[in-house]
């Protein structure tokens, strides 16, 4: 019996590769080939780095969404949250309470993180303590954060005033470290931390347990509500990090900033192979998904035969195809 078992254990390594985890990367490879055929410029390192940089916001938000979705919840408020946190951040920087521009930026970054975490905490507490469906709860806060932003900006835009601050802050989006654009470095760093948290830490195990069966988690002594709330807080922090990269890019926000970003983030998570009903988390797949979304747009821009006005429709189709592919892979496994 034992010899028999050992044999099968080594033999099965190859067959064991989880197709669902690999699928998004295969899709990415296919897209790269298609893109190269459409336009030779597409495959240039420069173009790809640009696309990756542009996908950074959605990627960062989607990393947070991976936590929320894995624990069985959903956060629709992230797009509004981006606008809200960014407005507060810029208003704070314009207030001039700290004279030194460097210190000012550092304080503003800290403020963004705190506000993001608090927004996430609010979402988490409303769903867990208030026992409201996450869909409804975050639909509510989505309206609240958006409304507050519109009120703060009085319907217009909020723009960073100090040129000194702008110059100092610019490299946070436009700079590069060892030749790699800063946003890409940030995305990789944040994803690494998230992957460590999900796969190597107790908390990650709890997230997956709560997402796959909250009752089993409760009977195992896991504080289910706390795990869910923390996931929302992590989502808030990820939104804040995205904002920290977003503000130096344009130096301004408006009431329409981040509209529909929640759908893009959810799409990225689903393309990445995380189950929408919770219980499995694939955070590297998630950033791959965000990259794919941006790549598709890029290919359409570079090609002449599809109108770029169809981007929304194509992205919608992608999410449906991703779900179909995932389901067929589940059957086979």
């Amino acid at each position: 019996m034992t010899t028999n078992e050992d044999q099968t254990e080594t033999k099965r390594r190859w067959q064991d590769v989880d197709l669902r985890a690999v699928a998004p990367f295969v899709a990415l490879a296919l897209l790269l080939v298609v893109g190269a055929l459409v336009n030779p410029n597409f495959i240039s390192l420069n173009n790809l780095a640009n696309v990756a940089t542009r996908s950074a916001f959605i990627a960062l938000i989607a990393v947070g969404a991976t936590f929320v979705i894995s624990s069985g919840d959903l956060d629709l408020s992230v797009g509004s949250m981006v606008a809200f946190v960014a407005s507060l951040m810029i208003l704070f920087m314009n207030s001039g309470v700290i004279a030194d521009p460097g210190m000012m930026i550092a304080a503003a970054i800290l403020l963004a993180l705190v506000v993001g975490a608090l927004c996430g905490l609010a979402n988490g507490l409303i769903t867990t303590v208030g026992k409201i469906e996450p869909f409804i709860a975050t639909l509510g806060t989505m309206g609240i954060y958006r409304g507050l932003t519109t009120w703060l900006s009085q319907g217009g835009a909020i723009t960073l005033k100090s040129a000194e601050q702008q110059d100092l802050y610019r490299p946070a989006y436009f700079g590069s470290i060892a030749g790699v654009p800063v946003p890409i470095v940030v995305v990789l760093a944040v994803t690494s931390v998230a992957a460590f948290l999900l796969y190597r830490m107790r908390y990650g195990r709890h997230v997956v347990a709560v997402g796959s069966n909250a009752n089993v988690a409760r009977y195992s002594g896991i504080k289910v509500d706390r795990v869910r709330t923390y996931a929302f807080v992590i989502q808030g922090l990820c939104v804040a990090i995205a904002v920290i990269l977003y503000v130096p890019r344009l130096g301004s926000t408006s009431a329409t900033t981040g509209i529909l970003w929640e759908l893009q983030a959810i799409t990225a998570v689903v393309i990445g192979g995380t189950a929408l009903k919770g219980g499995a988390s694939r955070v590297w797949g998630t950033i791959c998904g965000a990259f794919i979304l941006e790549l598709v747009g890029n290919i359409m821009l570079l090609s002449n035969f599809i109108s770029e006005y169809l981007i929304g429709a194509i992205q919608g189709a992608i999410i449906i195809i991703a779900m179909l592919v995932q389901r067929s892979l589940v059957r086979k496994a």
């Binding site: 028999n4 089993v216 009977y219």
Partner: protein, 508 residues
Amino acid sequence: MLSKPLGGDDVVLSAQRISKSFSGVQVLFSVDFDLRRGEIHALMGENGAGKSTLVKILSGFEPPSSGEIFLDGQPVKLPANGAAEALGIAVIHQEFNLAEHLTVTESLFLGREVARYGILDRAYMRAETRRVLDMLGSKINEGSVISSLSVADKQMVEIAKAISRDARIVFMDEPTAVLSRGEAEALFKQVRKLRDLGTSFVFVSHKLDEVTELSDRVTVLRDGQWVKTAPTAMLDGESIAQLMVGRELSSLYPKKSEPNVDEARVLSVIGVSTAHVRDAHFDLRRGEILGFSGMIGSGRTELMEAVAGLYPRSAGEVHIDDALMPAGDVQATAAAGLAYMTKDRKAKGLLLGADMTANLTLQSLDRHGRWGYLSPASEAKALARARRRFDIRVRDAGVVAGRMSGGNQQKLLLAKVMEITPKILIIDEPTRGIDVGTKQQIYHFIAALARDGCSVIVVSSEMPEIIGLCTRVVVMRAGRIVGVLEGDEITEQEIMRYSAGLKQKAVA
């Protein structure tokens, strides 16, 4: 019915040289099986021997990798996913297949709703459901939603569903694992009646007494291979057990050792009430094995969940080592050293989509690394230890819990709870679906725990288990504790008398 005899008189269903592999791992090896008209054929074997797999193949839920199936002497390819019902084949699955949000009536008539002029005839379906449930002696309300039912009641609904289909072949995969003696008897009465009318039954169970009592013939599987088919009259419980395990079994139960009278009281439950439990008092001493007996619905599980802080209590106090436990706070009771093992392993016990490691360590993750970090090496060591200790047999170490055999899932659940090395252990149906060989191991394991100073509460519907293991037995009836038996009083008759309400003892 035209039936060509094949391998004996009046064979309705037969299988020849059936083999089955799951993704390269073979679990059945050229098994032969035949089922006669009007017989009850027991299928026996250790956990993971392949009983459920054979049942699924013979009912069309899994295709065989090779081999042939004959229905009434004709070779057939059974239609998949329960469509074999049209051929008169019904299955009671080991793991329930009920849609949680339907009512009992809707579940019973799922897929064959009765309509008059295109409008559902609800009154008829309700009455029919009531009739079948009454026949089985079940008091379940036919309008209840499945998700609100206890495990035992869900099992009754599964049984009612299969029986109501007027099938001529019924597969029953461990239908009695969560039923107590009384409910099982009611089921057996119906089974015998239907058999005498010509229905054939395949009966899987790990309760040897039921098998010797009910079945006409027995087939034994070991490690996926056919071992023997013989008339039950020629075998007894012991010889079946030997055929299954392949070796001689020593005594099933360890020697009882009563704790000293002056041992410290580790748990006191004072006047606890919940939705269905009224005013429960009992206590537990260090190193004691206390049994809880009673019919289904007598409130044992609810009381234990309230004690463990998993279910709200409306009144009363729970003390562990003289410290009062806050109501409904699992973390506090767990920190005080109390562990509870649920009997509902599918809904509350295991993450069916996760592998063995994730399940095993879920409750005890803080032991596998500091600062919230998890050490894969430490977890792997825990898994290796648990597999040895509880003899968890899988042919593929990376298998997800939902694909393990029922008995091995149960062992994994027990191992998971034991990972936290509790001082007080409450186990609800500890040997649900576990084969005799492993049962013996688990009983000795529980006794050894008690000798080492752990206090154990065993909630069980299996009377022999309670009698063989416990030094004191509490009997519950309709939400109340009606008796506490000690020493020579612990007999099947006494326990039955209390749980049926024929006798009652005032308890302090």
